[in-house]
């Protein structure tokens, strides 16, 4: 194994970013509305220098495709980073916001806020974070046996929490009437089509990305300590790592990231589980590299899945959650079997 230099981290992240860029270009190009590459570039250029017009090109590019791509990048990066965080926090390779019920907790929180205060900007995000944090706390304590975190018990606790929360969600869904119900059903399957809740689209995305960068950045500061904790909490403690503090930071950051993703896109499965694993296989288990590569990798996966979802059955669209599950499950089985061999 070569030593992990900042240069190597930058090189690998640069390569992944280049792939993300290509995926974004493809995603901008394809869709039910035909636009040539040249028109896309012209529209982007005009929008960027400030003389944007109200042509249909700019409606499609700035109104439909770019917000969706921006949301996809955010959601993919947030889910993958929080997946990597949960895997370290619980020292369990199968940990993932979806499997652990954290996504369901965030969804329940978001749903309650939609019912109680549907028009308050940011309330959904806060409620989703609270739901995520409460769920992971419950799962963490249910998953302990004799003071020790037991891998199997933990996963069982997660599955139980997920099904319990889903039952509550279904109960709430039967109480909600008409169009609201329909929207929520779509949202629960994972959906990137919801428009921003405010008129200030740039400000909205600025807020979302700011929260993401703060949370992911906080998690990144613990990455060296996480590497040590993964070899054993006691050993890490002997080496001077403040294990409690590190775990608290990762716990809050991962919950914030899950809440953020779920609040804008509903529950999208497999990304948080799959992407960190693929990145580990490609680039090793060092968290200093794993966190940024997972973030970019997750963004690639979601943007790609959403692009496929809105093109393969056009003009109807597949929810992105269905796409990730459809593609994610077989890939996961393949990776698992390859690893065993």
């Amino acid at each position: 194994m070569r030593p992990l230099t900042p240069r190597r981290i930058l090189a690998i992240c640069g390569m992944l970013a280049a792939i993300l860029f290509v995926v974004v270009v493809i995603s901008l190009r394809v869709g039910a509305y035909p636009i040539s590459m040249r028109d896309i570039v012209v529209t982007l250029y005009n929008g960027a220098v400030g003389n944007g017009d109200s042509s249909e090109f700019s409606q499609v590019i700035f109104g439909l495709r770019l917000p969706r791509i921006a949301l996809g990048i955010l959601v993919g990066a947030a889910l993958s980073t929080s997946g990597a965080g949960f895997q370290a926090l619980l020292r369990n390779p199968l940990a993932d916001p979806y499997v652990l019920g954290v996504s369901s907790g965030a969804a329940l929180g978001a749903m309650l806020s939609l019912i109680i205060a549907p028009h308050t900007v940011g309330a959904i995000q806060l409620a989703a974070f609270i739901g995520a944090a409460a769920t992971i706390a419950a799962v963490y304590f249910l998953g302990r046996r004799g003071g020790q975190l037991d891998s199997a018990t933990l996963l069982l606790a997660g599955i139980i929490a997920a099904s319990f929360l889903s039952a509550i969600i279904i109960f709430l869904l039967t109480l909600v009437n008409g169009p609201g119900l329909r929207s929520m059903t779509f949202w629960l399957m994972g959906d990137l089509t919801a428009p921003p809740p405010t008129q200030n689209v740039l400000g909205w995305f600025g807020f979302l990305y700011f929260v993401f960068i703060v949370a992911a950045g906080a998690m990144y500061t613990t990455s060296s300590d996480l590497n040590l904790i993964l070899t054993g909490e006691q050993e890490a403690g002997h080496l001077g790592v403040n294990v409690t503090r590190v775990k608290l930071v990762v716990y809050v950051a991962a919950s914030v990231l899950t809440g953020l993703a779920v609040s804008v896109s509903g529950t999208i499965g497999y990304v948080g589980l799959l992407v960190p694993h693929v990145m580990r296989m490609l680039f090793g288990t060092d968290y200093r590299l794993l966190i940024p590569t997972s973030a970019i990798g997750g963004a690639i996966v979601i943007v790609l899945a959403d692009t496929l979802g809105r093109t393969i059955v056009a003009p109807t669209e597949l929810p992105v959650g269905a796409m990730t599950a459809l593609a994610g499950a077989p890939v996961f089985i393949y990776l698992m079997r390859r690893r065993i061999r």
Binding site: R2, A11, I12, G14, M15, A18, I19, F21, V22, V25, G31, A32, Y33, P34, M37, R38, D39, V41, V42, L44, Y45, N46, D53, S54, S55, E56, Q59, V60, F62, G63, L64, R65, T174, L175, N177, G178, P179, G180, R182, S183, F186, T193, A194, P195, P196, R310, A314, P315, T316, E317, P319
Partner: protein, 372 residues
């Protein structure tokens, strides 16, 4: 070492590719500026004359508040409409305005000509891009099937979406009149609404002394889903001289069979999926199913197949109401309650109620519209 070499080469390649795409983009941007200026003067890819007209009309707009409280500017002279629900598509055809219908959904099957229009996807999750690609002056939606997100997203990018929210027949008629106004066909609208209202009034006069028939309206058989009080179907049933036995605040409550047995409705009203010929089969299936077969209504053969129009708040719903009224109150309407073909002006044929008791043997009578 070899692996890292390959990885480096891949990285360089990917970066070069990305730079290449970016550079091409920049070059295109400069080259294409003139192209944009040209395209700005010809906004719509139509024949020159109507295109110029559309451009002029697009400037003249009026502010409208739709039935969900959303405000928007709608062109005074709407030429291209996209409908996001089957009942809206049907209303447009009933108004004789199908020339203005630029596109509809994959669910729009009445009249059959609606199936030939460009589709923008299913009502719940249409492709917003496909809608924009049809260059609509106005998009029509309804709360009974469309999602609020769809309207919000389209309004956000400047496409006017008028959403109707009918809960009663009166609401359906006023929505029809409003739609006609928006499409610049107020006269046709007033005429159609007056005609429908008159037919409803005739029914009301004929039925006002009759006791209401207590019916179970089946939206979906498995699981059993019925209707709540505040739905247009509940109101349509009242016009047909019937009352739903289910009391629920939800619009589409899931009902237990026990509840149905307890309530013992006089009639069971099923909605047919018009295009499947198995209507009789479905009634017979019901007779064979354990709990259903014990229902008094099923034993007496009081199972009525209402047209699928019953689930669509559109002008065709009045046909369905008339047919159901004839079915439920034969003593008031002595004319034999048979298959009715209701000819509409545009030649569409609506297949009304089928008496449940009749066997399927003489299937030749069928419906003109689907050639069955």
């Amino acid at each position: 070492m070899a692996a890292s070499e390959a990885r480096r080469r891949f990285f360089v390649m990917a970066l070069t590719l990305a730079c290449g795409v970016f550079a091409c983009g920049l070059r295109d941007a400069r080259a294409a500026e003139t192209h944009l200026q040209q395209s700005a003067t010809t906004p719509a890819p139509m024949s020159p004359d109507p295109a110029a007209q559309t451009a002029a009309n697009k400037r003249a707009t009026k502010l409208v508040t739709d039935e969900t409280g959303r405000r928007m500017a709608i062109p005074l002279n709407v030429q291209r409409v996209v409908s996001l629900a089957p009942n809206l598509t049907e209303t447009i055809y009933a108004l004789g305005l199908d020339a203005k219908l630029a596109g509809d959904t994959t669910y729009c099957d009445i009249p059959p000509a609606a199936k030939e229009k460009p589709h923008v996807g299913a009502p719940q999750d249409p492709s917003l891009e496909a809608i924009v690609a049809l260059h609509p002056d106005l998009v029509l939606a309804t709360t009974s099937i469309n999602r609020a997100q769809t309207a919000d997203a389209l309004l956000k990018i400047g496409v006017p979406v008028y959403t109707s929210n009918p809960h009663t027949m009166a609401g359906m008629l006023s929505a029809t009149a409003t739609m006609a106004d928006l499409l610049g066909a107020s006269e046709q609208g007033a005429k159609l609404v007056a005609e429908l209202q008159q037919r409803l009034d005739t029914l009301h006069v004929a039925l006002q002394d009759r006791p209401m028939a207590h019916v179970l309206f089946v939206v979906w058989e498995d699981p059993l889903i019925s209707i709540g009080q505040n739905t247009f179907i509940a109101d349509a049933l009242r016009w047909a001289g019937a009352e739903s036995v289910i009391v629920a605040s939800q619009n589409w409550p899931q009902v237990s069979m026990e509840e149905v047995v307890r309530l013992q409705p006089e009639y069971v009203v099923l909605t047919s999926d018009h295009l499947t010929a198995e209507t009789h089969e479905r009634v017979n299936n019901l007779r064979d199913r354990p709990t259903w077969s014990e229902l008094r209504a099923v034993k007496l053969g009081h199972v009525v197949m209402a047209s699928d129009e019953f689930t669509r708040p559109s002008p065709g719903l009045v046909d369905a109401i008339e047919a159901l009224a004839h079915e439920l109150h034969p003593e008031v309407f002595p004319a034999k309650a048979e298959n009715r073909k209701v000819k509409m002006e545009n030649g569409a044929c609506f297949y009304a109620a089928i008496p449940a008791a009749e066997s399927g043997s003489d299937s030749a009578k069928g419906c003109g519209r689907c050639a069955r």
